[in-house]
Homo-oligomer: 268 residues x 2
Amino acid sequence: MLVEGRHFLPGAEPRALGHKALAVNLSDLAACGATPRWITLALALPAADERWLKDFAAGLFALADRHGVELVGGDTTRGPLTIDITAFGEVPAGKALSRAGARPGDELWVSGSLGGASLALAHPEIAAAAQRLHQPEPRVALGERLRGLARAAIDVSDGLAGDLGHILKRSAVGAVVHYERLPKDAAFGKMKDAELEKQCVLSGGDDYELLFAAARDRHGAVEAVAKELGIALSPIGELNSQQGKLTVLDASGKPMSYRGGYDHFARS
Amino acid sequence: MLVEGRHFLPGAEPRALGHKALAVNLSDLAACGATPRWITLALALPAADERWLKDFAAGLFALADRHGVELVGGDTTRGPLTIDITAFGEVPAGKALSRAGARPGDELWVSGSLGGASLALAHPEIAAAAQRLHQPEPRVALGERLRGLARAAIDVSDGLAGDLGHILKRSAVGAVVHYERLPKDAAFGKMKDAELEKQCVLSGGDDYELLFAAARDRHGAVEAVAKELGIALSPIGELNSQQGKLTVLDASGKPMSYRGGYDHFARS
């Protein structure tokens, strides 16, 4: 459920909004290893704005069509601009991925690169970063290929540290992540702003990459998936038995400080 | 999608709200002849109010449990109070009821009584009317029994005239409704306010009764369903070939004026 002024700015471009509202849902399905099939859409709109609706629908259906997803129900009413999409997918019985299931000794992997979406909040003029923020691509094909390969998975929507925290909690494991192994958005290379990079890469949200744990002896199988799909999959650390504890090590092996995940109801 | 200040008053009692938010969805399924199975719930809340959530959930799950409906997904976020429930049901292939399918010569039926919910807006002190407005009972069992019996159906959410208009349009038929045959909420008997009664019974929303068309030779079968379920089913008129035209006749056979349905985006 996306609320104007909270999840997106007033006046946000409707085509990008239609894309993103669906993308974040497809990303959730990808993290379950599910193939997306159907969506419902409920819209509250301050007024019946035909132009807005046309552009919003164009963004939404372009992405839906690419994944063969059908709109099967919903509602429209007047109210503060609110977009609620529910996505339904299919996964073979017993094959769905969840946050639970990771074990000490597993390798931790992340797809693509991190930090680009939140970089766009600080530097909206960086086009590639803005693209990451406003037009995220859900990792649907990767999610499907991780069935039977990953032991636990989540999509990085609230930041690596926060979302990894969910896996650690539900799987009752700990993790060591090596900062220098994290795949960072290309824009950080030129910026030389270590603090901003760390904030965005460890704690920035909205990247919609998949973070997953796999048994160490599946290392080659994960690399084969990366090659097959033509996307980067980076081994960023390993799991241990320190329940719930995340340690991030810098290049010299020293623990780094970081901020955790996002709480929608935290006092701000 | 129910928005505070539009679909319910600020400060509305959360238990009743939980009931009604689900009831209106189950009513939609009943109008399709579907057996309700699953729901998703998305909530935007101005603050994490535990007491409110507890009461809202109590109202919602009491009704869900009575119908064996399971909550299978959803979302919670911060925002202007907005409740979006999507309900999923099952109906045998080819047996779903819709607004299309009614034919000239069919009888028109309505369940229960009309006007009680909207009467509560004018007279909130009438307890039975307030109950109709705030705690509507979806006609789930009736909807299931109408499979293969009704040719078209809709639930009365926006008022008899407006909702019947949807059947007339989609079925490309007209209708004559006899005002004196309409089942009116019991409270009107004592009030002797003919104008208010007419407004509420013909044009008032939120009753969530089922309005349906059935072939004339199924009259006895419909009466048998009424007896079996212990609910009133009243024959209120008949369909004709005057596409889209609704005529309401008073006791002397003269056409009555009435207001149509509700447009969420009409200028007010």
